[in-house]
């Protein structure tokens, strides 16, 4: 599935179109959307990643830049297509192989093929950022409309919880979700 959600139509702060398409496709395999519940695409993980790479240091940016290139080089060589163009089952196979055949940067042996270490680090990084993009405060660009929090039943940026809410078995989905922005508005109202 090409990356055609709303978020990807905006212009990117750091990522190129191809990079955004590729990273979006990877994160959509981490938190897929096919079940009708929000996944990485609905929560706009890619927007989170774009903002993060723009803000962070050069090492991180290089890892994205080189990682996307290596991933697409690998799938082009093996299947004649960019990663994002592959069917989902194929994408999963590729990611499984990356995960199984290599270890992330810090544990890899110096003799290991350079690209494999790079791809494992890249996938570990996209995984990390996909989790963050799913569950960050929406001010960071991901967790759009708090959909990630809704999915897991996390009420977000609460000032606190009362004894009734702290009973075992309490259904947290009955607590209205708050973002930091909501909290700010609330406190401002209280001040006025």
């Amino acid at each position: 599935m090409p990356a055609t959600n709303e978020a990807t139509k905006v212009s990117w702060l750091f990522l190129t179109e191809t990079e955004a398409e590729t990273v979006d496709a990877v994160s959509a395999r981490i938190f897929p959307s096919g079940d009708g519940k929000p996944g990485a695409r609905e929560t706009r993980v890619i927007t989170y990643i774009d903002k993060t790479t723009a803000d962070e240091d050069e090492a991180l940016r290089r890892c994205y830049r080189d990682g996307v290139e290596a991933l697409n080089a690998l799938t082009s060589e093996q299947y004649g297509q960019r990663f994002a163009e592959l069917p989902e089952e194929r994408q999963d196979e590729v990611l499984e192989r990356i995960e199984a055949s290599t270890a992330p940067e810090s544990t890899r042996t110096p003799e290991g093929p350079e690209d494999e270490g790079l791809l494992a680090t890249f996938f570990a990084l996209v995984w990390e950022h996909t989790i963050q993009g799913m569950f960050c405060d929406p001010q960071y660009g991901g967790n759009h409309e708090a959909l990630g929090w809704q999915l897991v039943g996390f009420p977000g940026a609460q000032w606190g919880y009362n004894a009734e809410q702290m009973r075992a078995g309490f259904d947290s989905k009955t607590i209205p979700i708050k973002t930091l922005e909501d909290l700010r508005r609330e406190l401002k109202r209280a001040d006025d």
Binding site: I30, F31, G34, G39
Partner: protein
């Protein structure tokens, strides 16, 4: 002309804050140097932000600016802490040195507030009495403490009443109370605040433990259950361990001792000021001041004949070594830390683990110290066993998944959205034993951006650590089963990390200047007027969290300093 100060305190964390307060209240003008920034309460009003504080670890020192290296043994080459060094700098804020800036580790700690038991001060004697003189490794450097529980009791009392701890006493002057810890050593009085409300799954944990014959009670907590002195009652927000408190319910030296010291008008805080050398007179036997870098890297020197170094056990030993204060070769020796054997459970009903502070929970102390039953694994010394029903946000939770489960894809999504609200943790704190093999020194290669050598840690998990982790995993598994958990798993053994935020022992206190670094008041044997305080003084690590004991020691040091001046 070189600047002169009546007293210098380097590091305003848990112990430095206390000493600064006591000295300034006695009229001494104190200059405090702290390498971190000054934080304000206002800054934390909107701290409900997991990306900022957990993922990006914005409070802790970054490995890029504050490198620390590790190797498992002295034949390996040390590298930047591999469990924490990720592609974007730090990837694990909870296994690094504590947060920086006035407040230190108490800015973002969990607040488990323990007194040691009487037995903790006599670990070596008790182990040898029970298991024989050869029970400890040939490499063991274990010694008993030069002080006992009775010496520290009045100081524990001061921590609880001056700074604020909530809990239920189990033994006031020998009178037992079954609601409190049945094993605690006698205390003069109870806690100034009642226990906190517990997190949702705690009742289930407590009931299961009782059915199994344990005697659970509520964790004493450096978190206010009601308004108390400068603390406000906890709101149970659940962004607690690893975060700052937005209402000042968590006891932090930033708002307790440091604030009190500022109010005397006798404390000047110089933040973003990084001490790099302790200066001495030509004989080397007397402290003369401290040299530090300001934020721009300019070098400054301040003279004083009273210097208190309170930069945490790791940086304390690094500063001593970098200053060449190590005549007997004991600085950095006897490194100790905890392994947690972190276990996770999925419960049949909602546990809502995102509520409440980490410490709003029950603990089991039946298996701690010399109370650990005879066992096949060969465990010589026990540990407290703690339930962690709260304080868990989604990003952190996603980093602790059952082994063998694919961490991505539809299966992962289903599992996580179904089970996040049913998670709970149980852990314990296996104390590592001091050994010739485990120590800190200066890294011969790695330097920070000011050209100062990084601290190098040489440590591995010992056979005893692994045996204790195995033993306690069985206990935790049986509790989880009794609780009706539908899933149970443990963190990998041996643990990937070698820092637990409970590092101690690196500038051991003792009466004999040939085999210890400081005396029981924290004063250097080698260099008069230099006090080096904190967990680094501990001769052994107990199965409890260390901070209340190092806070008690800080009051003891302050009394001594005031007696002498």
């Amino acid at each position: 002309m070189t600047e002169t100060a009546e007293a210098i305190v380097v590091g305003l964390g848990a112990s430095g804050g206390i000493i600064a307060e006591q000295l300034t209240k006695a009229g001494i003008r104190v200059l405090a140097l702290d390498k971190g920034p000054v934080h304000t309460t206002e800054e934390f009003t909107f701290k409900q932000d997991e990306v900022k504080y957990y993922s990006r670890g914005s409070l802790v020192p970054q490995l890029a600016t504050d490198p620390v290296t590790w190797r498992p043994d002295d034949k390996s080459t040390a590298r930047l802490l591999p469990w924490a060094a990720g592609v974007r700098g730090n990837s694990e804020p909870l296994h690094l040195p504590p947060s920086i800036g006035p407040g230190g580790g108490t800015l973002h700690w969990g607040g488990a507030a323990w007194r040691h038991r009487d037995a903790d001060f006599r670990m070596k004697t008790l182990i040898e009495e029970r298991f024989g003189p050869d029970a400890l490794d040939a490499d063991s450097t274990m010694v008993d403490w030069p002080i006992g529980y009775d010496d520290l009791e009045p100081y524990y009392d001061r921590v609880e009443w001056e700074l604020g701890v909530s809990g239920q006493a189990g033994n006031v002057k020998g009178a037992p109370n079954p609601e409190g810890n049945p094993y605690e050593s006698p205390r003069e009085r109870g806690f100034p605040m009642p226990p906190l409300r517990t997190a949702p799954a705690d009742d289930r944990f407590k009931a299961a433990c009782q059915r199994l014959g344990y005697r659970p009670f509520q964790q004493p907590a450096a978190v206010a259950s009601t308004d108390y002195k400068s603390l406000k009652g906890c709101e149970y927000c659940g962004f607690c361990h690893g975060f700052l408190c937005h209402v000042n319910a968590k006891q932090s030296s930033r708002i307790t001792s440091v604030e009190a010291a500022l109010q005397t008008g006798n404390l000047e805080i110089r933040s973003n000021s990084r001490a790099f050398r302790l200066d001495r007179d030509p004989s080397g036997r007397r402290i003369t001041g401290v040299s530090y870098f300001d934020a721009d890297g300019n070098v400054h020197q301040v003279r004083s004949n009273l210097v208190v170094v309170a930069c945490y056990a790791l940086e304390n030993s690094r500063l001593l070594l970098a200053s060449g204060i190590n005549a007997n070769g004991q600085v950095g020796r006897n490194f100790m830390t905890h392994s947690f054997g972190w276990c996770s459970l999925v419960l049949p009903e909602f546990s809502n683990p995102f509520m409440a502070p980490l410490v709003a929970a029950s603990v089991v102390d039946d298996l701690n110290c010399d109370g650990v039953p005879d066992n096949d694994e060969g465990v010589l010394w026990g540990s407290v066993l703690t339930s962690i029903p709260g304080d868990l946000q989604p990003i952190e939770a996603a980093h602790n998944l059952p082994p063998g489960m694919r961490r991505w894809g539809q299966g992962f999504k289903d599992w996580f959205s179904e089970n996040y609200r049913r998670l709970m943790g149980i852990h314990n704190q296996v104390p590592s034993f001091p050994s010739k093999k485990y120590y800190c020194d200066l890294d011969p290669v790695v330097k920070d951006k000011f050209g100062q050598p990084a601290l190098r840690i040489t440590h591995d998990w010992s056979a005893h650590d692994l045996a204790a982790l195995k033993y306690f995993e069985k206990v935790k598994r049986s509790i989880a089963e009794e609780m009706g958990a539908t899933q149970f798993w443990s963190e990998p053994t041996p643990p990937a990390y070698h820092l637990s935020t409970h590092e101690v022992g690196t500038h051991r206190m003792g009466e004999n200047p040939s085999d210890s670094v400081v005396d029981i008041y924290g004063e250097s044997h080698e260099c008069e007027g230099l006090y080096v305080v904190g967990g680094g003084q501990f001769p052994t690590l107990s199965g409890y969290n260390p901070t209340q004991t190092l806070q008690a020691l800080a009051y003891l040091s302050a009394d001594r300093i005031l007696d002498k001046v």
